[in-house]
Symmetry: C2
DNA sequence: GCGTGAATCATACTTTGGAGTGATGCCCCC
DNA sequence: GGGGGCATCACTCCAAAGTATGATTCACGC
């Protein structure tokens, strides 16, 4: 991010340098052959509008970056009284793991996982794990798709 | 969309008109008091860069619109041989509905729904409905969260 | 030091999900 | 007109999910 920004600035500087050289050339011509100021300004106008469009696109693209980092909605979590362990289970549930797989991955017994899942369902006020995953996602308790918490 | 674009063009035209008036003024001054061409060009440069940035932002914002409409990945769907009815069931699954709820909503017997679900799991090469939902989402067979197909 | 709540494990039970297999009616296409 | 794919329904069997209830341990705070 920082490097990319630096690169942009450097590129812009180089571009400006090149452009001033060009301007000097045009100005030289202008003095010699009485080229109109309008033409001169027209070139500058077009070039800098284009440059601005390019910069604008880059800026916006960077701002709404393609990464879209996940940030936990801690207030919702605390409000519902969902514990850290339950979030862990929730994340594994959302990845489509079975209770037994979750038990193995977290070094728990199947009973414990079922207990956690029950609490999750109760706290989220749903009755099925798929609903729990949906709700947890919409509450930003777990990332969208394709990410991991660990 | 088209209206907004037209509006942008009109605004741009008005802006240019205003600017040429400004330029004429500046030029007048330039002739009178020998203001340097560099100053003249500098102003134009800055103004049009800013204008370009503004236009660039608008263009990009429009292109990646704030709605982020869902478009079905038909090639993936066809390649996997998933039928329209299966997509319907998949959408209801993704909302966290049980087989029986799906049966009621689609006026089917529980058996039929189970049959559809089995086919979905087979075609998506998964063994649990939560995984199926995950995979279907990542393949853009169903919308992200909080939308509906109907 | 005692209550509270989280995390863990447990047993017994009901409900739901999923595999396997097969049947029927329908439509499309060669 | 027969084969193939789809949608529908059916039955069995087993696995997984979820409910209910309760026990134990540990940490934290008043």
């Amino acid at each position: 991010m920082k490097i990319a920004l630096t690169k942009t600035v450097v590129l812009y500087g180089l571009f400006l340098a090149g452009l001033s050289y060009l301007l000097a050339l045009i100005k030289f011509k202008f003095l010699l052959r009485e080229l109109s100021v309008e033409f001169y300004v027209g070139v500058v106008t077009i070039v800098f509008t284009a440059l601005g469009v390019w910069m604008g696109s880059r800026l916006v693209r960077k701002k709404r970056g393609p990464v879209e980092q996940f940030v936990m909605n801690e207030s919702a979590r605390d409000h519902l009284g969902i514990t850290a362990r339950e979030i862990e289970v929730l994340a594994l549930m959302s990845a489509g793991h079975s209770n037994e797989e979750i038990a193995r991955q977290l070094f728990l017994s199947l009973h414990t996982v079922k207990s956690h899942v029950s609490h999750i369902l109760f706290k989220l006020d749903v009755s099925r794990r798929t609903q729990a995953v949906e709700k947890a996602r919409s509450l930003h308790l777990i990332p969208k798709s394709g990410s991991s918490l660990v």
